[in-house]
């Protein structure tokens, strides 16, 4: 089965990510770009860059799974699957003993339970608001005049945390404003914000439970302070992928590969 390549294209609310693998599952290229205002253009651009990086042509890709909230806008995909299934499969590929996946993206956070084959068993997802998502952190970073790296620096792991009682973005923002007015150190505020997200995720985790190893995916896994707090709250060490934003795309590529293989094996072929 040489020269067969598969791709996953994850059009998320903030980032569009592509992963290309070969028939054995080896990753050939991975790309993350901002989604911007046009999901289908972002998909085209990210896919083009991933092909260049892998030194492949579009015709050389056997099957492509589109995923993410903009999955329907990927015209060149051969199939589509939700990001929930894709993150499950992707996390299983990277950490085969994963039983629980926590994906914290820009607009959604999800807790996914998977079996020993990476198949999804159950999931839960945040409600309409941005509470407990990357967007929440971005709004707060803006208010604190910090960039995302500063907001996630390990410096924030220890130390006092300012009390932020709201998980709602709008209310939390006004709490931040009054804390700043009281000259509360920014690091304490950052710590308080991270804790607020962790509490939100915690309530989602408890609603479906933790099984096996826990893998954290999505862009917020870059936030080291938050990871440390989440580990403390869960009382375990999280698996953190090297590139947490492309786990959904990777899962999509594997789903495309599996679909192709099972098609070959089906008795009608």
């Amino acid at each position: 089965m040489a020269d067969l390549y598969f791709a996953g294209v994850d059009v998320g609310s903030l980032s569009t990510d592509v992963s290309i693998i070969d028939h054995s599952g080896k990753v050939l290229s991975e790309i993350v770009i901002p989604t911007g205002v046009n999901g289908s253009e972002a998909a085209e651009e990210a896919f083009g860059s991933a092909l260049n990086l892998a030194d492949l042509t579009r015709e050389g890709i056997t099957a492509i799974t589109a995923t993410g909230y903009g999955r329907a806008s990927v015209a060149f995909a051969t199939g589509k699957t939700t990001e929930i299934s894709c993150h499950g499969v992707g996390a299983h590929q990277l950490f085969p003993r994963t039983g629980t996946v926590i994906d914290i993206g820009g607009q959604d956070s999800k807790v996914i339970q998977i079996d020993s084959h990476g198949r999804m068993l159950d999931f839960t997802m945040n409600d309409k608001c941005a509470a407990g998502t990357g967007r929440f952190l971005e709004v707060m970073a803006n208010r604190l005049e910090l960039d995302l790296d500063e907001l996630s620096s390990p410096l924030n792991i220890k130390g006092e945390s300012a009390p932020i009682s709201s998980t709602c973005t709008v209310f939390a923002e006004s709490e931040v404003i009054s804390l700043l007015a009281k000259n509360t150190p920014r690091e304490e505020i950052v710590h308080g914000l991270q804790r607020s997200i962790v509490n939100r995720i915690w309530s989602m985790v408890t609603s479906i439970g933790v099984e096996g190893e826990v893998t954290l995916t999505g862009g917020v896994a870059h936030n080291k302070g938050l990871v440390a707090l989440l580990e403390e709250k869960l009382g375990l060490t999280l698996n953190i992928p090297e590139n947490p934003q492309t786990v959904g795309a990777l899962g999509g590529a594997h789903i495309a590969r599996r679909a192709y293989q099972s098609n070959l094996e089906s008795p009608t072929n």
């Binding site: 939700t82 929930i84 299934s85 959604d108 999931f123 309409k128």
Partner: protein
């Protein structure tokens, strides 16, 4: 006057695949009101429709009338369910199609309070009736109580409409019995793939009983084709629980995905159909009392949760449903009360469960679409494993 023959209305909504036509609700009721028919607006869910029919009153049900909630908010707390809000909005408009009054069954505290509010505080030009259904399951006390309230309601109606004609009541019970028999057969056919009807059409058919004259509804049911041989099974088999069926947009989406709703535990669906076929009515009072107590277990009637669980698992087995969708109306207390334990028990049995919350708006959010699709992926995996 209530007709027991086929009603002649222009059926202006033809449902695809079904080859039968279901009239549009507001057009139909408008025509009916113009023809001089007495029409009572009835709030969800269980009420002695046969008694109203016997007085030549058409009961049209008010569940989720379309339109924005504007004025009702001024009278209600924010934590009241949208069914109550939408109903009040509708009542406040004093629509022409309702000319015989409003009936508020005691389905839940919110509806009971609404009844009192409409009657005593807000005030409408038409009479307002209440009907206090018994809570709890079949026993001597509850059956006696139910007979008493039926007789009381009959007396109330007699003071306005004159003495009840017992033959008309028996005829109404016979009609009701026929409708139930058809509905039971159709429900059974759906569970076993003997019904060539998609999700959207199925629930359109179920919900037509909320506003069609019983005779028209019966003739609609008579046209439903029950197949001799099972048709192709849907890609995934789903059961739905809750108050109302999922919105049309969700039903359409499930149809697109190839997911068939093969059984339901909906207050506006199978919870209104007796659990098993009943004998042809002889004594109306006995029949009506028996019928009330052979309806499936329901959160709005109190009772034993184990009984509800048992009923759900029987339906899931009979329909081979692989998963359960709880379509919860926001702030619906009775349903929320049972929901937690139902979900827990189903999960313990490794049955996939998805809960959606609806405010009855027709739009389906991107997040809900993803939830539904992801849930479907679990079911597809199960089906292919």
């Amino acid at each position: 006057m209530l007709r027991f023959s086929k009603h002649e209305t222009t059926f202006n909504e033809i449902t695809k695949n079904m080859n039968i036509s279901i009239p549009d609700r507001s057009e139909y009721l408008k025509t009916l009101a113009q023809s001089g028919q007495k029409i009572m607006g009835v709030l969800p869910a269980l009420y002695p429709r046969e008694l109203l029919w016997a007085f030549d009153i058409h009961a049209t049900e008010i569940w989720d009338p379309p339109g924005e909630i504007l004025h009702a908010n001024a009278h209600l707390q924010t934590t009241i369910c949208p069914i109550v809000k939408k109903s009040l909005e509708f009542i406040l408009k004093e629509p022409d199609i309702i000319n015989a009054g409003y009936l508020f069954p005691h389905t839940c505290d919110s509806l009971q309070n609404l009844g009192t509010q409409v009657k005593d505080l807000i005030g409408v030009s038409l009479p307002v009736y209440t009907f206090y259904n018994p809570k709890g399951s079949f026993n001597k006390m509850t059956t006696k109580y139910y007979r008493d309230i039926l007789q009381n309601y009959q007396l109330t109606l007699e003071t306005i409409y004159g003495p009840l004609n017992p033959e008309k009541l028996l005829a109404a019970c016979v009609l009701s019995h026929k409708i139930d028999s058809y509905l039971l057969a159709i429900q059974q056919a759906r569970m076993t793939d003997h019904l060539a009807m998609n999700n959207l059409d199925y629930f359109k058919l179920m919900r037509a009983q909320e506003y069609l004259l019983p005779s028209d509804y019966l003739s609609l049911l008579e046209q439903v084709d029950i197949l001799d041989q099972p048709s192709e099974s849907p890609r995934a088999r789903l059961m739905v629980s809750g108050i109302l069926p999922p919105t049309s947009e969700i039903l359409r989406f499930l149809d697109e995905l190839g997911v068939g709703i093969v059984a339901d535990d909906l207050l506006a669906g199978s919870r209104r159909i007796p659990k098993f076929p009943m004998d042809t009515p002889v004594s109306p009072l006995d029949y009506l009392t028996d019928r009330f107590f052979v309806l499936p277990p329901c959160s709005t009637r109190g009772g034993d949760l184990d009984e509800r669980l048992h009923h759900l698992s029987k339906l899931m087995d009979a329909s081979q449903a692989q998963g359960m969708l709880f379509d919860m109306i926001k702030f619906c207390e009775p349903e929320l009360f049972d929901h937690r334990l139902l979900v827990k028990t189903l999960r313990e049995k490794n049955i996939p469960v998805l809960t959606l919350e609806t405010e009855l708006d027709s739009h389906i959010s991107g997040q809900d679409k993803t939830r539904i699709e992801a849930f479907t992926e679990i079911l597809f995996e199960m089906a292919s494993a």
